[in-house]
C-alpha cells in the first residue's frame, strides 16, 4: 500500500512550554478534501503550521507520503492566513504568485518566461488575470485570498495546506474557491483546510478532523461530523487539560 499523503504520530505542540495540542494521531487519505474543524483556540492553525515545521514539535512525528516534511517540500503547497503578511509590501499579484515557483527554481536562478507563463495560468485559474499587475494593497480581501491560492497552485504540489482560506471573503469568492478546491481534489490532489464555519462543513469536505486541544475525531464526514462528536468538540474545553497546560508552563512548584 502506498504511504498516505499525511500521517501524524503522537504529535504534541507547545508554545512557551505550554502545550496547546496533545497527542494528535491521525492519517489523511489520498485525493480527499479535508476540513480541520474546532472551536476558537482549539489549535487548528497551530496543528497546520506544526505539520509544516514552522513551530517545533514537543514530541511525535509527521510524515508526508511516508517521509519527513523536510524531504517532501516540493510536494507541498501552503496558503497562510491572509493577515500574516504586510499587504503594503511593494509587489504585484504576479510577483506574489511567482514566489510559488521559487522552491523549484532553487538558489539564485530567477523566474523566467516559463515561470511567468505558469504563474499567469494560475492567476487565470482563480480569475485574477486582469489584476496581475496591481500592487496587492489595491486588491479586495477576496482578491488577496485568491492571489495566495494562485501562489499555492504555482507550487504545483500534491498536497495543499490552507489556513482559513474563506476568512473575510464574500459569498461568491467562497463558492469560486470551493470549486477550485474540488477541482484539485478531482485531479487527485489532497487538500487540507482549516475551517471555522460549521454550516458548510458537510457540503465542502469529504473528510473531517475535529480538534479541541486534542483530537476529537478524524474520518469521513458522513460518519465523523456527527452530533455527538460536535458536542464533544464544542461542549466546553476540558478544564483539566487547560489546568495541566498552565501547570507545565509555570514549571515545578517552588
Amino acid at each position: 500500500m502506498p504511504p498516505p499523503p499525511l500521517e501524524i504520530h503522537d504529535m504534541t505542540v507547545a508554545y512557551h512550554r505550554k502545550p496547546v495540542l496533545w497527542d494528535i494521531d491521525l492519517t489523511v487519505p489520498e485525493g480527499s478534501l479535508v476540513g480541520i474543524v474546532g472551536p476558537n483556540g482549539a489549535g487548528k492553525s497551530t496543528a497546520l503550521i506544526s505539520v509544516l515545521g514552522l513551530i517545533p514539535l514537543a514530541s511525535g512525528r509527521v510524515e508526508i507520503y511516508g517521509k519527513p516534511y523536510a524531504r517532501q517540500r516540493h510536494q507541498v503547497g501552503y496558503v497562510p492566513q491572509r493577515e500574516s503578511v504586510d499587504w503594503d509590501f511593494p509587489v504585484t499579484a504576479m510577483d506574489v504568485v511567482l514566489m510559488g515557483t521559487y522552491g523549484r527554481l532553487g538558489w539564485i536562478r530567477r523566474p523566467g518566461a516559463a515561470e511567468r507563463h505558469a504563474a499567469r495560468l494560475c492567476l487565470a485559474q482563480v480569475g485574477m488575470e486582469a489584476q496581475a499587475d496591481r500592487q496587492i494593497r489595491q486588491l479586495s480581501g477576496g482578491q488577496q485570498q485568491r492571489v495566495f491560492l494562485a501562489r499555492a497552485l504555482a507550487q504545483d504540489a500534491r498536497i495543499y495546506f490552507m489556513d482559513e482560506p474563506f476568512a473575510g471573503v464574500d459569498a461568491s469568492t467562497e463558492q469560486a474557491i470551493v470549486r477550485l478546491l474540488q477541482a484539485l481534489r478531482d485531479g487527485g490532489k489532497t487538500v487540507i483546510v482549516v475551517h471555522h464555519d460549521l454550516q458548510t462543513v458537510a457540503d465542502y469536505f469529504d473528510h473531517v478532523i475535529l480538534l479541541n486541544m486534542r483530537l476529537i475525531a478524524s474520518g469521513p464526514t458522513a460518519t465523523t461530523f456527527t452530533h455527538e462528536n460536535l458536542h464533544k468538540a464544542y461542549g466546553g474545553r476540558l478544564t483539566i487539560l487547560d489546568e495541566a497546560a498552565e501547570a507545565v508552563r509555570r514549571g515545578p512548584a517552588p
Binding site: L52, R73, D86, F89, D95, M99, I108, P111
Partner: protein, 451 residues
Amino acid sequence: MTFLTWIVLIGTSLLGSVAGVLGCFAVLRRRALVGDLLSHAALPGLCLAFLVLGQRHFGGMLFGAFCTGLAGVGLVTLVCRWTRTKEDAAVGIVLSTFFGAGIVLSSVIQNQEGGGAKAGLESYIYGQAAGMVLQDVLWIAMVSAAALVVVVLLFKEFKVLSFDPAFARTQGWPTLALDLAMMGTLALVTVTGLPAVGVVLMAAMLILPGATARFWTERLGPMLVLSGILGAAPGTIGTLLSAGVVAGWLGFDPLAFGPTATNLPTGPLIVLSGTALFLFSVLFAPRRGAVARLWAAARLRSTTARENLLRTLYELSEPRLPDRPAIAVEQLLTHRAWRAWQARWLVRWMSWLGLVERTPEGARLSESGLGKARGLVRTHRLWERFLIERADIAPDHVDRDADMIEHLLGREIVDALEERLAAQGGPRDAVPQSPHEIRRTKDEGRMSKDK
C-alpha cells in the same frame, strides 16, 4: 574641484547608494531601528579593536565594529525571545548599553598617552567625511561591490524572506541563514560608513532613501534601484555643499549665515539633503504624496457637488419631463445643505460646463445636462433599491446612505446592479421610480416660471 573633494564625493555617494539599497529591506521589514542599533553597538568594537591592535588600523577596527554590531542585534533577539520585553524596548536597552560601554572604553583610550588622537575615535562618533583618503574610498568601493553582489544574487530569496518568511520556510529556504546574510551585509555597510557620517547619522543614511523610494514605486526591484540613486544624491549634494563647491558655482555661499559660517560638516549636510528629498516625496509623490491625496479628495468633493446639483435639478423637474423647467436657487437650497453663495457658484460653474442653463429665476438643465442627470439618478435609484432589497435598509433612510456611496460607484458595479434588478423584472436603461417620496415644494417649477 580639488582631487580631495572628488575622493570625498565618490566615497559618500557610493556609501549612500549602497546603504540606501540595503536600507530598503530594513524599512520594509519594519526593522528600521536595526541601523541605529548596529551603528551604536559598533562603538565598543572599534575601541576594543584599537586596544588589542594598539594602533589605528582601518580594517581591524571595522572588523571589531562589525562583531559587536552583530552581537547587539543578536542580543536584542535573545532578550525578546527569553524575556517578556518588547522589541522596541529591547533595542533601546541594548543600544544604550553598548554605546555606554563604547564611551567608557574610549575614555580609557583617551587617558592613555596620546591615545585619543591616535585612535581618531571622535570621527567615528560624529563622522568626518572631509577626512576621507583614497584608501578609505577603495575600501568603501570594495564593500559596496560585495554588498551589491549579495543583493543581486539573493534578490529573489530576500524578496520572499521579507514578504512572507513563514512561506519561505515551508519552501525550504534557510530563513535564519538568509536573515543573517542580510543583516551581516547591512552591518558591514554600516560600520564602513561610520568614519564618514558617524554613529548617529548612519541610521538616517540607511532609512531615508528606502522610505523615500517607497513613495515613487510599487515594486521591489525599482524601489531598490531608486533607493540607490536617492542614497547617492544626498551624498553628492552634501559633499558639494560642504566643500563650498556650490558656493563657487553660485558666486555666493547659500549656507553662509553671517560672515563666518563656512566649512559646515559633510555628514549632517548629507543627512539634511536626504531629508529634503524625503519631504519633497511626502508632498509631491504621485498617489502616495500628500498633494496628490489632497487633490484626489478635492476632486471627489467637487464631483460630488456637481453630481448632486444635476440630480437635484432632475428630481425637481421630474414631474414635468421632458420639459426642462427653471428651478429657483432658493428651492435648491431646501434640498441640499448648500449655502446660497455655494449654490450660485455651482450653477455658474455648471453653466460654464454647458450642463446647466442659467435663467433669471435660477437654473434649468441643458440638453446634455439632462442626459447626464438621467444617468446619475439611475445609479442613485438602482443603488437605493439594492440597499432596500438586499441590505434591508429602511426606504426613508436609504437616500442618505446612497448619497455617500454613489459618487464612488464604478461602471462595473452599476452594470452588476442593473443585471440583478433586470433579473427581477426591473426596468433596463430607463430611470427607475424613486423608492421613496421626493420632497418637492408645492408648485415647483411653475412658481419660478410665473414670477
